[in-house]
Subunit: 135 residues, 2 copies
C-alpha cells in the first residue's frame, strides 16, 4: 500500500515536472523568429503611460495576432547608455511572431483601432523596426 | 526487486526533470532585469557585418560581464514596420543583466578595447538604450 502511494506520487511529480519543462522549452527558442518592435522615442514634453500600455494596449494588439504570436515583451526606457546623451526611447513593445505576412494580415484590418488607442497612453508617434532574431 | 527498480527509475527521472526545469526557468524569467541595447542606426552608405558581430564582437563583450550577464541576443534589422519609412536600425545587440552598476563597472576598463573593435564590423556609431524589463 505504502509503495503504491509513493509510486503514484513520483509518477505524478514526474509528469508534472516534464510537462512544465516542455512549456519552458518552447518559450526559450527565439532564433529565427521575427520581432516587430514598436519604439516610442523620447523628446521634451512627450509622455508615456506604461501601466495603460501593459494592461490595455498590448493585450488588445496581442489578441489580434492569434497563434502566430510566440510572446510579447515590454521594456521601459531608463537612460541613454552614453553619458550626456538623451534617453533614446521611453518604451518599447515587442511582438515575437513566426510569420511577418501573417502579422501584417492580422494587423491590417485592426490598424485604425490600434491607432485610435495611442492617445490613451502617449503623445508620440512610434518608430517600428521589423527584425530577425539571429541569436 | 522489480518495485525497487521502478522506484529508483522514477526518482531519477523526477530529479532530472525538476533540475532541467529549473535551468529553463532562470532563462525565461526576464521581468525586472536591465537591458542594455546597443542599436546601430541605418543610413545611406552605412554597413554592418552580422557574422563578425555574432562570432567575435558580442562574445568578447559578453566575456567581460561575468555572472552579471543573464543572456544576450542579436537581431538583424529587416525593414521599417511603417510603409515608405527607412529601416530604423541595421542591427541591435542586447545584454540582459542583473545589475546596471555591475555592468558599468565591468565595461569601464574595457571600453577602449570594445570601441577599437567597431571598425571591424561597422562604420556607424551606435545608440545605447538602458531599459527595464516590465514584461
Amino acid at each position: 500500500m505504502k509503495v503504491k502511494v509513493i509510486l503514484t506520487f513520483l509518477l505524478l511529480t514526474t509528469c508534472f515536472a516534464v510537462f512544465s519543462q516542455e512549456k519552458h522549452n518552447t518559450a526559450v527558442v527565439e532564433k529565427g523568429l521575427i520581432k516587430v518592435s514598436v519604439m516610442y522615442p523620447y523628446a521634451e514634453g512627450k509622455t508615456f503611460n506604461v501601466e495603460y500600455y501593459e494592461t490595455k494596449h498590448m493585450p488588445m494588439v496581442a489578441g489580434f495576432l492569434g497563434s502566430n504570436l510566440v510572446k510579447y515583451t515590454i521594456e521601459k526606457g531608463v537612460a541613454s547608455g552614453i553619458p550626456n546623451q538623451p534617453l533614446p526611447f521611453m518604451a518599447i513593445g515587442t511582438f515575437y511572431v513566426k510569420s511577418l505576412s501573417d502579422y501584417q494580415a492580422a494587423i491590417g484590418p485592426n490598424r485604425d483601432a490600434i491607432r485610435a488607442d495611442f492617445p490613451n497612453y502617449t503623445n508620440v508617434t512610434p518608430v517600428i523596426l521589423v527584425s530577425e532574431v539571429v541569436k
